[in-house]
Structure formats: structure tokens, C-alpha cells
């Protein structure tokens, strides 16, 4: 791609960007949220049309006007959100496009199943039947089915957008193997991720975008982590983590023996005023259900919740919010935001009564409040009336944060607050967490990113199979120790 430009009303999203992927190369595409990565990818895959510039596939000039054009040219994308049909079998999904283009023939089940089996084997997914419904597969398995589909179509270029966001470490390892294998067989891979460690481990070259412009393309071997970050943010990032808050000894939240049928078994924890408490574990160890139960979003079968020493009865999110608890969910598009609504409307949603009088929204007050947050959290948006759908991930997350700050909650639970957002926005979220704790708020930080948990928290609870198995002092622990407990290790062995 040469000199690609694209403008949206009010913003130039891409300004004369050059980008190339060679066969048999893993090419990392890096940049902060809003740097133009997704726009570039959308142009490659025919979702957007470019305003100017030229595109070449195998040396030939091409025009990509629709997703179908891109597919025909062998450009496939694998998203965070999959495009599989849940109620069809693995084989049917792998052959979906083939069926689409030959609608009038019988479905060649025998060939489909045989070829699908072959593909899955190549990708190391032996234990999954090609007749299994996609619905019943794990996220990692579904992702491999997506890759199988791309392989069957002999994709020349596979774009992977945050492919590891929802994978466990072991699954990430396997994905890396698959990527190496694809590379060896001559497929070009565009790898987009916010996890720099991964990128540095797998990519051959990296292209960095900033504010819609090309910063540079370099071989990975010539780049250091700091250099990449500097290219992305345009300045050396002095410190990712800040910690100025001092926890008090005043108990703010106490949970005793809380259970969620099948998911959480008798969990107890305390959190103090001004403290950041980390909750971590492998995916699905019950962290998410535990905090949802505290927030009243899933029913609990037993247990007691005390706020500032007083037992409270929380049966719904309304109850929780009324008692000053906020929950920033891990999936902002599904549960955090109303994408059709504006920045203003989203930021006031959880505390609309605070900007209302006699049942009427005080529009001026609401806008002032939203404008305050836009400024304080440095939310990049063309206007307050912008639908949040069109904001970048990091800015969307900040809108969710503003929504919970507006409730003035004193216990703020954040589940995976930095998932899918870039380094710059991450640092801002970290600073905000520290600032909030400094103001005397209590933060429960649920995260599977161990560096984040260790560097921000004061104390850490580790969960394993629905139980809290360890309580650790963040200053005296390590990723290894946490990993030990998270995988079911006992206290005795670790010593």
C-alpha cells in the first residue's frame, strides 16, 4: 500500500501511509488507539474505501471496494469478535464461504469433513470434532477455526487484530506456534496487538503509526521496547506505573463467605479505604463472578457484604450503586456503553438523577459534567455529542470510567480496565487508579495482566477454581508466586 489517505469529517484518519507485508513475514502494526491502525486495516479489508493512494497485491495494482474484493484477493482478517456461526458445525463454518459461492449444489459433507479434519490437525486442534458446534468450543478453539477457514481459502495475508486478548498463556503459546508455521508456509501476517512482549517475540518487522502518519517501519531486531513505545507515543514514556497513594487501615468493604453456585465458593476478602486490591487468577477462576456478585449483577447463594462495617443487602446493580459501589465491566461494548448514544448520555447514565431535577434532565448541567470529564480524563472526541461507537477503544474506556466517576462511588471495581487499549491510555488509566486511591476511594482491580496487578495493588488475592487461594502482599510477591497459586499450587510447595 502506498500513500494511503483517508479523512473523516473533522479528522484525517490516515495521511499518506505506506505499508507492505511480504510473503512469509510477521509484520506488527503498532500505534496508540486512534493512530490509524484500524482505519488502515479496514481499507485493506474493503470495509472503508481509501480517499487516495494505491494498493498492490503480488505486485499488481488492485482496487478493494468491498470485503468481498478483499477476500477474493486473499486478504483475511481475524478479529477479536469472531464471525463464526455459533449453531453450525466446525466443518460447515470452515467451508462457509465455499458454500456461499456455490449455493445451488449439494453440500459436499464428506469432502468438507475430511478437509476440515486435515486443517485442524495442521493447526494442532486434534481433540475437537469437525462435527462439534462452534457454540460449544472455547474462545481459543474458535479462533483456530477462524484461522482454519482463512487457510482453506489459501489466504495470502492474514490480519490478526488483538488475537490474544482472550487467551490463556498456554493458548497464546500455541497460537504463536501456529503463526510461525503459517509464516514458514509463506503466508504474510499482519499482527496487531497492544501486548509489546508478544509483538517483540513473534514479529519480523514493525510499522508504527501515530496520529494517522507513518512513523517508520523497522526490523524487529533493531528495536527495543523503549524505542517502540517512544515511536508510538512520540515521547519517552517516563513511567507506566505511578504509586503515590497510601492505604489506610479503615475497612471499606468486607465480603464474607460469598458463593455463586458453580462459580465461586466461599470467598472472603477485605478492602480498605484508599487501597488498591488486586484480584487475579487464570481466566474463568471466578474473579468475574465474584465481583459481579458483590455488585448484585449475578445472584449469590450465600455470604455477607459489609460496607464501612455495616451489612448491606445488595440484590441488583441499583442497590450496589446506591451503596456507592461501581463496577467497570471487562467488556465495554457489551456491558459498558450504549454505543448509539453520545459521550454525554453515556457518561451520565449511571447517575442520571444527579443531573436531573423533578424527573427532567438538566441538560446544561449534564453537558458541563461531561465536558469536565472529557477534559480531566483527556477523552479524545470531536464533540460531546459524538456517538461513542466511533471512538477508539481507549477513549471508549475513558467514557465508561467517567460514567462511574459520576456516581461518586467510594468502592470502584475495575475488571480488566486496560484490555485492548494502548500503552498511552493504559498509563493514564493507571495514574487515575492511583489518584482515586489517593482520594480515599477503594479500588478492586480484577486483572489477568500480572505486571499491572503487582505494580498497582497494595494487596493481591489469587483465585483458583472459584476459591480465593492466597492473599499476597504486592510489595513482596512475584509473577511466579502468583502463577503458582493461580494454577492450584499450595502454600507449602511454594516455600
Amino acid at each position: 500500500m502506498a500513500g494511503i489517505s483517508k479523512a473523516f469529517p473533522g479528522v484525517i484518519a490516515l495521511d499518506g501511509v505506506d505499508f507492505e507485508v511480504r510473503a512469509g513475514e510477521v509484520h506488527a502494526l503498532l500505534g496508540e488507539n486512534g493512530a490509524g491502525k484500524s482505519t488502515l486495516v479496514k481499507i485493506m479489508t474493503g470495509v472503508y474505501e481509501k480517499d487516495s493512494g494505491e494498493m498492490y497485491v503480488r505486485g499488481e495494482k488492485v482496487e478493494i471496494r468491498s470485503p468481498l474484493d478483499a477476500q477474493r484477493l486473499g486478504i483475511r482478517i481475524i478479529h477479536q469478535e469472531f464471525t463464526l456461526i455459533n449453531d453450525m458445525s466446525v466443518a460447515e463454518n470452515i467451508f462457509l464461504d465455499a458454500m456461499g459461492s456455490r449455493m445451488l449444489s449439494w453440500v459436499p459433507y464428506r469432502r468438507m469433513r475430511a478437509e476440515s479434519r486435515e486443517l485442524l490437525k495442521r493447526l494442532g486442534l486434534h481433540h475437537v470434532s469437525v462435527d462439534a458446534l462452534v457454540r460449544d468450543l472455547s474462545v481459543a478453539e474458535q479462533q483456530i477455526v477462524e484461522i482454519a477457514r482463512a487457510l482453506r481459502e489459501e489466504a495470502a495475508v492474514i490480519i490478526m487484530d488483538e488475537p490474544t486478548a482472550a487467551l490463556t498463556d498456554a493458548e497464546v503459546e500455541r497460537l504463536m506456534d501456529i503463526i510461525r508455521q503459517l509464516r514458514a508456509s509463506g503466508t504474510g501476517i499482519v499482527y496487531i496487538s497492544h501486548k509489546l512482549d508478544e509483538v517483540m517475540a513473534i514479529a519480523d518487522r514493525a510499522t508504527v503509526l501515530r496520529d494517522g502518519r507513518l512513523v517508520g517501519t523497522k526490523p524487529m531486531a533493531e528495536l527495543t521496547r523503549d524505542e517502540i513505545v517512544r515511536m508510538m507515543v512520540g515521547r519517552p514514556l517516563t513511567k507506566l506505573y505511578v504509586r503515590n497513594h497510601k492505604p489506610t487501615s479503615e475497612v471499606a468493604l468486607e465480603v464474607r463467605d460469598l458463593s455463586v453456585p458453580g462459580r465461586v465458593h466461599g470467598a472472603s476478602l477485605v478492602a480498605h479505604k484508599g487501597e488498591v486490591v488486586g484480584i487475579t487468577g487464570l481466566m474463568g477462576a471466578g474473579q468475574s463472578e465474584l465481583v459481579r456478585a458483590i455488585f448484585g449483577a449475578v445472584p449469590r447463594s450465600g455470604g455477607e457484604i459489609k460496607l464501612h462495617g455495616r451489612p448491606v443487602d445488595i440484590r441488583s446493580p441499583q442497590d450496589a450503586i446506591r451503596h456507592g459501589i461501581a463496577l467497570l465491566t471487562e467488556n465495554r461494548k457489551e456491558e459498558g456503553l450504549v454505543l448509539l448514544l453520545s459521550v454525554v448520555a453515556n457518561s451520565s447514565l449511571a447517575a442520571l438523577e444527579k443531573v436531573s431535577r423533578f424527573g427532567f434532565v438538566d441538560v446544561a448541567k449534564e453537558r458541563r459534567q461531561a465536558a469536565d470529564y472529557v477534559e480531566r480524563l483527556a477523552i479524545k472526541t470531536p464533540s460531546l455529542d459524538q456517538e461513542v461507537d466511533s471512538l477508539s477503544g481507549g477513549n471508549q474506556q475513558k467514557v465508561v470510567l467517567s460514567k462511574w466517576l459520576a456516581t461518586d462511588a467510594d468502592v470502584i471495581i475495575m475488571a480488566e480496565p486496560t484490555r485492548g487499549i494502548d500503552v498511552g491510555a493504559k498509563a493514564e488509566v493507571y495514574a487515575l487508579i492511583d489518584e482515586l486511591a489517593g482520594q480515599g476511594k477503594t479500588i478492586l482491580l480484577v486483572s489477568s495482566e500480572l505486571p499491572e496487578v503487582i505494580n498497582l495493588s497494595d494487596r493481591i488475592y489469587v483465585m483458583h477454581e472459584g476459591r480465593i487461594v492466597a492473599e499476597l502482599d504486592a510489595a513482596n510477591t512475584s509473577q511466579e508466586e502468583i502463577g503458582h497459586y493461580a494454577t492450584g499450587g499450595t502454600r507449602h510447595e511454594s516455600a
Binding site: P9, A297, T329, E335, V338, V361
Partner: protein
């Protein structure tokens, strides 16, 4: 601070997006006046408006339901049942005002029952209101024994035949309802929460919105407007017909959709709906003036709804560099 100012709507595309259906309406009126010289007489226009009023009243409640992500198929039957019950009360010597209030109350109650099953029974709105549609129609036939109930009450006649100054009563009722709904949806907390629930129910729930209450509310509002339409229609016809309001729900839904409200909820307005109601009303009126058989009128209505919605889609999705283009095709990406 520039952020505090509402976004300027200067670009022509945005202008078209906002007023597109109004342009369609005006174009239709222009065409109508060329085709028939009787169209632009004040008599005829008043007549159209009076006819539009009942559908528009129903469509106001329907808009609120559809904005919340639901649908209400029962409004035609609820209209008939409230009409029959009110007419029965007046025929039995009851006070007209009590009867009218009872009709509004009954409509609201039936709507709330819909909402209850949708919210707390977690049933699809289509099924619940389909059941209510059958139930209320059946109850009407039982109550009336299949025969019309005549209403002879001078005061009650006002709703269908009276006027406020030069404005016919049904039209006045329609205007007041739309003003109230407009303010409700755009200015009140509850109105805002309806958009939130329709836009993303899970996010609304996790933000502490009492989603179930909102659902009961929207169906109750739809029942209320159905009751109001029942009053006006019964008054206009001097009687409650057991088959009154049959398939009115379809016209109401059509008006809402023509008005640009998204069937999946979260986006739309009552200003759009009233334009949609007029498009349907004027279409029927023109075909009447041109002596087209009523059979063909339905055919024409189907075509117009499809074309108008298609046009609306083009206006919304079209154009390079429109951010909205990025929104729509997300589902089909890759």
C-alpha cells in the same frame, strides 16, 4: 469551551439525514397537488389530518415501545376493547368523563400486562403482544356479543367531532400528545433511560437502570395511547365496533419505521413518527381523490413503505467519508 456547544449540523448530508423524510412528505404533497386540484383545499387537508390523527396517536406509544427495543402488536385490539368497554359504560348511563378515564386506565393496564410479561417473564415482545392482540380482540367480541354498541352522548362526541378553535379535537389531542411525548423522550430522565435500554439493555442494567420498570412503562404508555385512540374512534363513529382497529398496529408500526426509528431500538424520535403517519395518510387520501380502488391502495402502501425505508437507508449509509458507513457494515466485516 467549544465542547459545550451542541454539534453544528451544517453539512448538507446531515441536513438531509435529519429532514429526509420531511422532504419525502413535501414531495408527496407537491405531487398530490399536481395530480388532483382538490388536494390542496383546506377542507381536504383538514380531513386528512383528522384521519391521520388516530394512527398518529397509536404510533406515539408505538414509537416509545420500539425505541426500547420492543414491538406492540396488540394496540389495534386494545383500542377495540377500550372502545367497547367505554361505550358500554356510557350506554349503561355512566358519566362520559368517567368512561373516558376508564378507557385510558384500561388501555394502560393492558399495556402494563404486556410489559410485565416482557420484563419479568422474559418473553419476546412479539409473542406477548401477539397473545394480547388475540386476547383483547376476543374479549371485545365477548363483551359486545359481536354487535356494535351505540354511543349517544353529546359531551363524549367532542373527542371525535368537537374542535379547539379551528382545530378539530382529534388533531388537537394528537398535537398535545406529541408535544408531551417529545418533551418526555428528550428532556426527562425516564425518556433518556428508554433510549439507553433500547440501545444496549445489558449496559443499561449494569449501569443500575431499572430495565424491567422501563419495559413495563413503555408498554403501559403504548396501551395508554391505544386507549386514547379508542376514545377518539368510538366518538367519531358514534359507536364501538367489535372489529374496530383491526390491523391498525401495522399502520402504527409503518409510521414509526417511516419516521426513521430503528426497529432494533435506541435510535429514533416522535417527530419522525408524525411525519411517517402523514406520509401514510396522504398517500391514502391522494389515491382516494384519484378514485383508486382501496384494494390497490394497500398495494401502493406496501410499495411506498419499502421505497421510503430504502431511501432512508441510502441517506444514512451512503457517502464516502461518512463515519456512519463504518458503523453499519461492522457485522459483515471479514
Amino acid at each position: 469551551m467549544s465542547l459545550l456547544k451542541p454539534q453544528a449540523v451544517s453539512a448538507p448530508r446531515q441536513w438531509i439525514r435529519r429532514y429526509g423524510m420531511l422532504l419525502v412528505l413535501l414531495a408527496m404533497m407537491l405531487l398530490a397537488s399536481l395530480l388532483s386540484d382538490r388536494f390542496l383545499t383546506s377542507n381536504n387537508l383538514m380531513n386528512v389530518t383528522r384521519q391521520v390523527a388516530i394512527n398518529a396517536i397509536l404510533a406515539a406509544g408505538m414509537t416509545v415501545v420500539i425505541l426500547s427495543g420492543g414491538i406492540d402488536l396488540s394496540v389495534g385490539s386494545v383500542l377495540a376493547l377500550t372502545g367497547a368497554v367505554g361505550a358500554g359504560m356510557i350506554a349503561a348511563g355512566g358519566n362520559w368523563l368517567v368512561a373516558a378515564l376508564a378507557m385510558l386506565g384500561l388501555g394502560t393496564l393492558l399495556g402494563a400486562v404486556n410489559g410485565f410479561f416482557v420484563a419479568y417473564g422474559q418473553l419476546p415482545p412479539f409473542i406477548v403482544t401477539l397473545a394480547m392482540m388475540a386476547f383483547a380482540r376476543g374479549a371485545t367480541l365477548v363483551y359486545t356479543n359481536g354487535r356494535p354498541i351505540t354511543v349517544l352522548n353529546n359531551a363524549f362526541q367532542w373527542f371525535g367531532h368537537g374542535s379547539v378553535g379551528p382545530v378539530p379535537a382529534p388533531v388537537a389531542i394528537m398535537i398535545i400528545l406529541y408535544l408531551a411525548f417529545y418533551i418526555f423522550l428528550n428532556r426527562t430522565t425516564l425518556g433518556r433511560l428508554i433510549y439507553a435500554v433500547g440501545g444496549n439493555e445489558r449496559a443499561a442494567r449494569m449501569s443500575g437502570v431499572r430495565v424491567n420498570f422501563i419495559k413495563v412503562l413503555v408498554y403501559a404508555m403504548s396501551g395508554f395511547t391505544a386507549g386514547f385512540a379508542g376514545i377518539v374512534l368510538t366518538s367519531r363513529l358514534f359507536s364501538a365496533q367489535p372489529t374496530a382497529g383491526t390491523s391498525y398496529e401495522l399502520d402504527a408500526i409503518a409510521a414509526v419505521i417511516l419516521g426513521g426509528t430503528s426497529l432494533s431500538g435506541g435510535r429514533g424520535s416522535v417527530t419522525g413518527t408524525i411525519i411517517g403517519a402523514f406520509i401514510i395518510g396522504i398517500l391514502g387520501n391522494v389515491l382516494n381523490l384519484l378514485n383508486v380502488s382501496s384494494f390497490y391502495q394497500d398495494v401502493a402502501k406496501g410499495v411506498v413503505i419499502l421505497v421510503a425505508v430504502l431511501l432512508d437507508r441510502l441517506i444514512h449509509a451512503g457517502g464516502k467519508g461518512s463515519l456512519r458507513k463504518g458503523v453499519a457494515p461492522r457485522a459483515q466485516q471479514a
